[in-house]
């Protein structure tokens, strides 16, 4: 069965969809950030599964082993995780400010307070 080899990716896709759904559909500002997190983490898993090589090992040089998993995606994801944290921190900081200014972290309530805009 040819598509069996793709199964791994599809699980990740489902995870991404769940995360993305939270971002779009949820009105709670914290949950949105959580959703973004899940969305991004799933993308990371996806990248890492790209790097896996059958028969390869972790990319740390050991005498005698020639097959390693691809280190490049690992590096990218390291960077991307950091970026993710940075964004989360920033997002949460904004949520805190929003709560201070509006007394709520529900999107619809905030829009109500601001009128039409």
């Amino acid at each position: 069965m040819e598509w069996l080899g793709l199964y791994n990716y599809w699980v990740v896709v489902v995870l991404m969809m769940v995360g993305f759904y939270i971002v779009i559909a949820q009105g709670n500002l914290v949950k949105k950030i959580v959703g973004l997190n899940i969305f991004q983490t799933s993308v990371f898993i996806f990248f890492i599964s790209l790097a896996k090589l059958d028969g390869g090992t972790a990319p740390v040089y050991v005498e005698g082993i020639t097959e390693y998993s691809n280190p490049l995606p690992h590096v990218l994801i390291l960077t991307a995780i950091v970026v993710g944290v940075a964004l989360t921190a920033m997002g949460l900081a904004l949520v805190v400010r929003v709560h201070e200014l509006y007394g709520s972290i529900e999107e619809d309530e905030i829009h109500e307070q601001d009128g039409k805009h």
Partner: protein, 496 residues
């Protein structure tokens, strides 16, 4: 000097990056922070100008980061296409700094100036990095640097809605960059490389696969979110409206422009004209979106009473013009888009600066508060009117140069209705600009309104510098048109 010339591409990004932490440490001395930031932005502009010179003299420059030969290492790549964008960014950074002094002092808490300018430099550095890098993943990283800094800067607006709009921008922007990341991942698995030039060479072998098509789709959607292509523009009006004046000036002139540049690079250089337009018919998708994106935001703009918001919607419409040029899929159309990058940056920055002058004196720019303002601030309003004419596209302004080329491109493609549509929509711009003119010149100030004075020189001079640029480059068109022409030819030619 040789050392300097040799490392120009690295310096372009590193200068503001280096200055940001230093400026941040000047928290106790706001004026000093400002001075250091100004110096940095002007030096950055100097680097850009030298780069333009180098590219025009010697052709494209490839700079190998860490000394590693691409595609193993990361490459910085300067060619006629991105040099225009680099110039726009550093120019706008440089010109908005003298302006910032008074404006930021009024709008932002003094204790935060060091941080504020550090964030500004980071935004600047991020945008320059996106433009200059030749590596797909590096684009993502710099996107996030500039994005993080802009979120913080926007949240500094006085209105509490600034924070909320910053949050919305953060969510939408992050979704955008994550899409970008997915696209990059798809490209990577099919080609094994991240270097843009290398990608361009290796993609044709695999471009009949669904993966690459999906990659293309994700890249385009992700970037469209960043560049506020209709209907993905929802974050932009709020963000521009509530951000501090100086940040609105800078972002409106640069942020979306850079995203458009990335889109152009991906469509034309990486995937190539053939794939994008012949196989995937991107033009058929972009053109209606662009036209709707011109029409609807223009109409919405007419009904705004907050002028800053009105201009923000107008920015969405202007993005539509740029994308429309791309959708023609011709050198002429592309050239019109590139020249509009420059023209719109100058025009919109001038407009937002004029508004910032009014905000500085009056405190707000709702239509009511602007009633009769022309008598009190004649120079500011004169600049607003002239830049407004440029936005409409009246001849002898830069706006006309764009419109002219867009029209020619439409006619070249045999698209008569589009040509008529283009002219029709400039009438919409006339309506909303004219609403302001009427209020400012013909209405009497509201009862009890405090009379105000003309804006201070430090605000007025940069405003007028840009206004004069609107007119000068509308008459002596050779410089922007020439640069845009080279850029368009380079992009059409792909990387090969």
């Amino acid at each position: 000097m040789d050392l300097l010339i040799q490392h120009l591409p690295a310096l372009q990004v590193v200068l503001p990056m280096l200055a940001a932490p230093i400026v941040m440490l000047m928290a106790r001395a706001p004026r000093l922070a400002w001075a250091a930031t100004t110096l940095t932005t002007w030096l950055t502009l100097g680097v850009s100008i030298l780069l333009v010179q180098q590219v025009l003299l010697h052709g494209s420059i490839s700079y190998h980061m860490g000394g590693w030969v691409p595609p193993v290492g990361i490459e910085y790549f300067v060619d006629p296409a991105n040099i225009v964008v680099l110039l726009i960014i550093s120019l706008m950074g440089a010109i908005s700094m003298p302006f910032a002094l008074r404006s930021v002092e009024q709008e932002v808490d003094k204790a935060k100036h060091g941080l504020f300018y550090a964030a500004f430099l980071l935004a600047n550095c991020g945008l320059l990095g996106i433009t200059i890098t030749g590596d797909a993943f590096n684009i993502f990283v710099f996107f996030e640097i500039s994005a993080l800094a802009s979120y913080a800067l926007i949240a500094m607006g006085k209105d509490r809605r600034a924070v909320m709009s910053s949050y919305q921008y953060l969510v939408m922007g992050t979704v955008g960059t994550t899409f970008l990341l997915i696209g990059i991942g798809f490209m990577y698995i099919m080609t094994g490389t991240l270097n843009l030039i290398d990608l361009a060479q290796r993609l044709p072998e695999v471009n009949d696969t669904g993966t690459i098509r999906a990659a293309f789709a994700f890249l385009v959607v992700g970037i469209s979110l960043k560049l506020a292509l209709f209907p993905l523009h929802l974050w932009l009006p709020n963000a521009y409206t509530y951000a501090p004046s100086m940040i609105t000036v800078f972002l409106s002139a640069t942020a979306t422009k850079v995203a458009i540049y990335v889109l152009l690079r991906i469509i034309f250089s990486v995937f190539g004209y053939e794939f994008s337009f012949s196989e995937l018919n991107l033009g058929y998708v972009l053109m209606p979106l662009a036209m709707l994106g011109i029409l609807i935001p223009s109409i919405v703009a007419i009904f705004q009473t907050n002028i800053k918001r009105m201009l923000a919607y107008s920015s969405v419409a202007q993005v539509g013009y740029m994308i429309l040029g791309v959708s023609f899929a011709s050198t002429l159309g592309l050239m019109a888009s590139v020249v509009h990058l420059f023209n719109h940056a100058v025009t919109k920055a001038a407009l937002f600066m004029a508004l910032a002058c009014i905000i500085y004196r009056v405190g707000g720019v709702s239509l009511d508060r602007m009633a009769g303002i022309a008598k009190q601030m004649p120079w500011t309003m004169a600049a607003f009117v002239l830049a407004g004419l440029s936005l409409i596209g009246i001849p002898l302004t830069v706006g006309f140069v764009t419109k002219w080329h867009l029209l020619l491109a439409a006619l070249e493609g045999g698209l008569w209705p589009v040509a008529v549509f283009l002219l029709g929509t400039s009438l919409l711009a006339t309506i909303y600009i004219w609403k302001v003119v009427e209020a400012a010149y013909l209405k009497e100030p509201a009862e009890g309104a405090q009379p105000v004075r003309e804006a201070p020189m430090s605000l007025l001079l940069p405003t007028w510098a840009l206004t004069v640029a609107c007119l000068y480059f509308g008459i002596d068109t050779s410089l922007p048109v020439d640069l845009a022409n080279r850029a368009a030819e380079t992009l059409m030619g792909g990387y090969l």
